[in-house]
């Protein structure tokens, strides 16, 4: 069903599935940065487009990366 106003949501695909990633690595800061906001929060699945499995793994990876100071808990 299409709403009167607003854009029709585009079908999103999980980027980890596309690349056939086996396990999400906390050391891959460049890729993980795409899944956090500029304030450092983790993007929700409805925005990142990740599948459930990879969103779960990405969340753990981001939290590990934060712990070892590769990613910020908060910025500014």
């Amino acid at each position: 069903m299409r709403r009167e106003r607003g854009r029709r949501p585009r079908k999103k695909v999980c980027s980890f599935c596309v690349e056939k990633v086996q396990d999400v690595d906390y050391k891959d800061v460049g890729k993980l940065r795409k899944f956090i906001t500029d304030r450092g929060k983790i993007l929700p699945r409805r925005i990142s487009g990740n599948c459930a499995k990879h969103q779960r793994e990405a969340t753990i990876a981001i939290k590990r990366a934060r712990n070892i100071a590769l990613l910020p808990f908060t910025s500014d």
Binding site: N67, I68, A69, P72
Partner: protein, 94 residues
């Protein structure tokens, strides 16, 4: 034996010699407690995403090793009481 991945951050104000000393210490610790170091990778000095103990950067060391849980527990204990180590993270590799 399980494969573990260890990443730790060493204080940036240590000189080359002291840094080598710390890295060697952990390598030996793993070997002495029934473990086996697979490889040690120095990332070098990196900016931290946030300040830790007033330091803005640190030496990152990434290491893979084989060992059992006793190795891991002892390693964790020593990492905690080594002042030169700012942070560490041990994960198990599948």
């Amino acid at each position: 034996m399980r494969t573990y991945e260890l990443m730790y951050i060493i204080r940036p104000d240590l000189d080359e010699e002291a840094l080598n000393g710390v890295v060697d210490k952990f390598d030996q610790l793993i070997t002495n407690h029934g473990g086996e170091v697979i490889n040690t990778n120095r990332w070098g000095k990196r900016r931290l995403a946030y300040e830790i103990n007033d330091y803005r950067e640190g030496f990152y060391i990434l290491e893979h090793f084989k060992g059992n849980s006793a190795t891991e527990i002892e390693l964790e204990r020593v990492l905690k009481l080594t002042d030169a180590v700012l942070r560490f993270l041990i994960t198990r590799k599948l």
